[in-house]
């Protein structure tokens, strides 16, 4: 059975923001909504803070941590982890939050009442947005895919794994094309899928597994050097 997942090679991510921009345009996202954020991170505590990002209120991206010249500068792409055992699913009072057979966790805008329970329940802060007012856009023109998600006041939005694209045989927008070649995607149950091959033999981290969510995004740690 298909079980979609993603692997992100933290060594290969160069913080270029191609994936975040691809997501934003392909999904015709309003100003205030980001499904995907690449944080600047200044430590190696992968379960700790995701880091800082301009889109989350920081003044600047790309500042290092530590003391010159002994610094740390990492990047942490964060989106919905499409968990095996999503805590958002359990708390949704209307059944708007759903998990497909292929593992994709999504929010049905027709059913969502914007109660925010999923936001509270999710251990990955910032991956969802509750739109308070009518969506505002940067452009007067509708961009992105014709079947991009609906955006409207009073609903919760998050990464859909670009199910609209996946369902017609294309790849999620953030996957096409990562300049650092950091992102892999596909069927975790298929050992020959790109994502399975990327994970094989690599040390990885899954975010905040203590929460019991069993996330399907694998963060590949820098390869060990001899």
């Amino acid at each position: 059975m298909t079980r979609y997942g993603m692997a992100i090679d933290l060594y290969r991510c160069i913080g270029c923001q191609a994936c975040t921009t691809a997501c934003k345009i392909s999904n015709n996202l309003p100003k205030d909504i980001s499904y995907n954020v690449v944080y600047t991170k200044t430590d190696h505590d992968w379960d700790g803070s995701f880091g800082t990002a301009v889109v989350k209120g920081a003044l600047a991206n790309d500042n290092a941590g530590g003391t010159f010249p002994n610094c740390i500068l990492e990047f942490m792409p964060i989106q919905c982890q499409h968990c095996e055992n999503p805590s958002c699913l359990r708390v949704c009072p209307t059944g708007a939050t759903q998990k497909r057979d292929d593992g994709i966790v999504w929010v049905d805008p027709e059913l969502c009442i914007g109660c925010g329970a999923c936001i509270m329940a999710c251990p990955y802060e910032g991956v969802r947005t509750l739109s308070e007012g009518d969506p505002e856009y940067y452009l007067d023109v509708v961009v992105g895919e014709y079947d991009a998600p609906k955006h409207m006041a009073g609903i919760v939005e998050k990464c859909t794994f670009c199910k609209n694209l996946i369902d017609r045989g294309e790849v999620p927008a953030c996957m096409d094309l990562c300049p650092g070649r950091a992102r892999y995607w596909g069927d975790l149950d298929d050992p020959n899928s790109e994502v399975s091959k990327a994970i094989e033999g690599r040390k990885y981290h899954k975010l905040r597994e203590g929460a019991g969510t069993a996330p399907n995004v694998y963060y590949l740690l820098p390869p060990e050097r001899s």
Partner: protein
């Protein structure tokens, strides 16, 4: 913060609004209002067409993109895929947000005439006919009264399309310039480092190509944050490291690539030449120099007499001969002499079996030294201690680099423009080039400068520029070539080198000189001194504000064009017209033709676009490989393998001696505007002096304690994309990155408003604390428009004069003081 944002949005909308008030239709033509998402309507699946696009803003990555068009609108851009080079598939946030440039509220919609003060941004709408007539009436008058050189075309680089681009090479604008015989103004950017390669290695390609990545054991990124400024090359480094190579970064700050490196080696700004000299000193001290490489492939054995001239065969009584070179020009042949160790005699260098690198006796009464003797002499003072003191690099790190370059296999050195942007860029680059030669880290697989993609080059530009008119008339050629900084003086004094040189008009296309040339106040002074300025642009950028006549150019995707010249990938790219030009905008190439017709030069432009492009493609390589525009259009891209994976293979250099050169007996400056010149500095490649203001020991640093590296942004190419709000989610406003201890001393906290200033100008922006900065060195992303700053402009702080012999804009060589507001 709040205030700045609203000020900005006011000013950027005001042009459109103001113009609309004068009778224009302000709304975007043919756009549907947001909110009526097609998916909601439940109608049939709308058709999306994909067109081939070339992103061509001169960021040096040159991405091939798919342009998605639905209902006649560009809705998405994705990476194009090469079927014969997936490693060159690429796109970045800029390329992905191109729909926002097409539908930018900053787009110029129709021709306009200035009605306010220069720079004020007040314009009235006029018709194309009026605009072209006004331009060409004025130009005809200037030509009659002052000659064609009184009109100056600026050779910008904001659009690397061949038909529409303002590029110096072969564009239709370049032809118009040559037909009219106007002056051309050189931007003088990015000259020092490439020129240092030409001086030492001869013309041609100097970098190993990505295909040779597999052969490098160690990759040194020297003074550049590849992940930001040339992000599409980054994956080659990361893949090399994944395969086991070491990645070493030498930089003034801990930036993205340092975070990926096995070793980060810090250095004080612009002291990298001294670092190279320190490494060379250690290499020579240890006897690790590549003796056979130096003997066989370089001029190290060549002999210099006490008068500074080479010892040549004529000095030994052998009369020079003459020969004709490839261009049919007669040249004198008077071979360089070397001392042959095997025979203990002096002879032409081409005949010696073992040219001596030192210990050469007097020859024919001439006391001589080898270039190698001079290398040893130049390196002598650069002990580890002194090099460490000047560069701030530890003795341990200098020793590490000396060992790495000589004892640990193949080293790839990546050096782009980080060192170029200082007043001493030429000297720094030559010292590093010398290090590569002395350690033999060139010319062989895995050993060289990296990368270097094979590219078609600039095409047969000579042919496109000089081909005669339909009636057989020859273009006049360039009227005069003016260096940018000289131009600024000429327009204000009316004189060049003491002689009358009136400049009456200035024409710039897709190039925001106000923001992108150094010392902005001088740029503005110059523009204000010019009688009639014509700016052809897509948007209302800082330079557009100074136009007398503004001509709206369409977006790249609203016309077709060929991207020829280079860039980090070996492809010619065809850009299909994907959508109709918005408003009254026109393709740049059409505008050049309108001007040419009205000037009475229509006869010179009686060709189709395809005919013109085929002339451009008719280089010797192009002809040999059947490169035509139709062939390119078969796939919309065409791979050009014009060079092999290794540059200067097996010691092949393209200098007159066919060897790499350390010494020039008669160097000339690459520009002349009456500057004082100590030519001795230019002769030997191991000469080094500190930068002008980035040097920590310069007394000016007592008054202006900080140097500013005006760094590239991730989200803009120069100022292009300033109008794309999506990009402001990552780089929102001008900031100054400052070391935490420096900040603490000045009482500066994250987000504080600070002013950077010096005698030339000032800028007010927000401070951000960055432990990745070394003391007394700031990084400020450059590429914001003046109106995006709280006050002033970062570009006012830099200086616009040149190194004595190298015409180079120094974006990083700038000292300022900081005031907390």
């Amino acid at each position: 913060m709040e205030k700045q944002e609203s000020m900005h949005s006011f000013s950027r909308r005001s042009f459109i609004k103001g113009a609309a008030a004068l009778g224009a239709a302000g709304a975007l033509a043919g756009c549907s209002a947001q909110g009526s998402n097609l998916a909601e309507t439940g109608g049939p699946v709308p058709e999306t067409k994909i067109f081939a696009g070339a992103c061509r803003s001169q960021c040096a990555n040159g991405c091939y993109v798919n342009v998605h068009v639905r209902d006649g609108q560009v809705v998405r851009t994705t990476a194009g895929k090469f079927d014969d080079g997936p490693e060159f598939n690429r796109i970045c946030p800029k390329g992905l947000s191109l729909p926002a440039r097409v539908y930018s509220s900053e787009r110029l919609q129709y021709p306009m005439r200035r009605i306010g003060e220069r720079g004020e941004g007040k314009f009235e709408r006029i018709s194309w006919d009026e605009a072209i007539k006004e331009i060409t009436d004025k130009w005809k008058g200037y030509i009659e009264e002052y000659g064609p050189t009184s009109i100056a075309f600026f050779l910008g680089s904001g659009n690397t399309g061949t038909l529409g681009g303002p590029a110096p090479e072969g564009s239709i604008m370049a032809r118009l310039l040559n037909v009219m015989g106007t002056s051309r103004v050189l931007p003088d950017r990015d000259i020092a480092t490439p020129m240092s390669h030409t001086y030492m290695f001869g013309p041609g390609a100097h970098g190993h190509r990505a295909a040779d990545t597999v052969n490098g054991d160690h990759f040194i990124i020297w003074a550049g944050d590849t992940a930001v400024s040339e992000k599409q090359r980054t994956h080659f480094f990361l893949e090399a490291r994944d395969r086991g190579a070491d990645l070493i970064v030498i930089d003034i700050a801990y930036r993205t690539m340092a975070g990926k490196a096995d070793k980060f080696i810090p250095v004080h700004p612009a002291t990298d030449g001294a670092l190279a000299l320190g490494i060379i000193h250690e290499v020579l001290e240890q006897g690790w120099e590549a003796t056979e490489f130096l003997r066989e492939f370089t001029e190290a054995p060549f002999l210099i007499k006490d008068d500074g001239k080479f010892l040549r065969m004529s000095d030994l009584g052998v009369a020079p001969t003459t020969t004709t070179d490839a261009q049919g020009k007669e040249t004198t042949v008077d071979p360089w002499v070397v001392w042959d160790e095997d025979t203990q005699t002096a002879m032409p260098y081409t005949e010696a079996t073992k040219p001596a690198l030192g210990d050469v006796p007097d020859i024919n009464g001439f006391h001589v030294r080898t270039e190698m003797d001079m290398i040893r002499e130049a390196a002598e003072p650069w002990t580890l201690e002194r090099a460490s003191e000047v560069t701030g690099t530890s003795i341990e790190d200098i020793k590490y680099l000396a060992h790495l370059y000589t004892q640990e296999g193949n080293v790839m050195t990546d050096m782009k423009y980080g060192l170029n942007h200082y007043n001493n860029g030429m000297y720094t680059s030559k010292c590093i080039n010398s290090l590569l030669l002395i350690t033999g880290q060139m010319c062989f697989p895995g050993r060289g400068m990296y990368t270097g993609e094979g590219n078609f080059g600039e095409g047969n530009t000579q042919a496109t520029i000089s081909m005669p008119s339909a009636s057989g008339e020859k273009p006049r050629g360039v009227g005069a070539t003016l260096n940018w900084t000289d131009f600024c003086n000429i327009v204000q004094t009316g004189k060049k080198m003491g002689k009358d040189f009136p400049i009456k008009s200035f024409y710039a296309v897709c190039t925001n000189i106000v923001s992108n040339q150094t010392e902005q106040n001088e740029t503005i002074k110059a523009l204000k001194a010019i009688e009639f300025i014509v700016i052809q642009e897509m948007t209302m950028n800082d330079t557009s504000l100074y136009a007398d006549i503004l001509l709206p150019a369409c977006h790249w995707f609203e016309t077709s064009d060929l991207r020829v010249r280079y860039y980090g990938n070996p492809y010619l790219l065809w850009n299909e017209k994907a959508v109709e030009p918005l408003y009254e905008s026109k393709p740049d190439a059409d505008i050049y033709r309108l001007i040419a017709d009205a000037m009475g030069y229509g006869d010179f432009f009686q060709f189709t676009d395809d005919e013109y492009l085929n002339v451009l493609l008719s280089t010797p390589w192009g002809k040999a490989h059947g490169v035509t525009i139709d062939k390119i259009r078969e796939k919309n891209y065409l791979r050009c393998e014009v060079s092999g994976p290794v540059a200067h293979p097996n010691g092949e250099f393209y200098t007159p001696s066919k060897r790499a050169s350390f010494y020039r007996e008669d160097p000339k400056p690459d520009y002349m505007m009456g500057q004082e010149l100590d030519i001795e500095k230019e002769k030997f490649t191991l000469f080094w002096e500190p930068a002008r203001e980035a040097d920590l020991d310069n007394p000016i640093r007592e008054k202006y304690p900080f140097s500013v590296c005006c760094e590239h942004m991730r989200t803009r190419t120069h100022t292009q994309w300033y109008d794309v709000d999506y990009m402001k989610e990552f780089e929102k406003q001008p900031v100054c990155r400052i070391n935490p201890e420096d900040a603490a001393e000045l009482g500066i906290k994250e987000g504080d408003t600070i002013r950077l200033y010096n005698d030339r100008g000032s800028v007010t922006l927000l401070a951000t604390i960055n432990p990745g900065e070394q003391r007394k060195a700031l990084h400020c992303p450059r590429s914001f428009l003046t109106r995006e700053h709280i006050d002033g402009d970062l570009a006012t702080t830099t200086f616009n004069d040149y190194n004595q012999a190298c015409r180079n804009q120094s974006y990083f060589d700038c000292a300022v003081a900081i005031e907390k507001l």
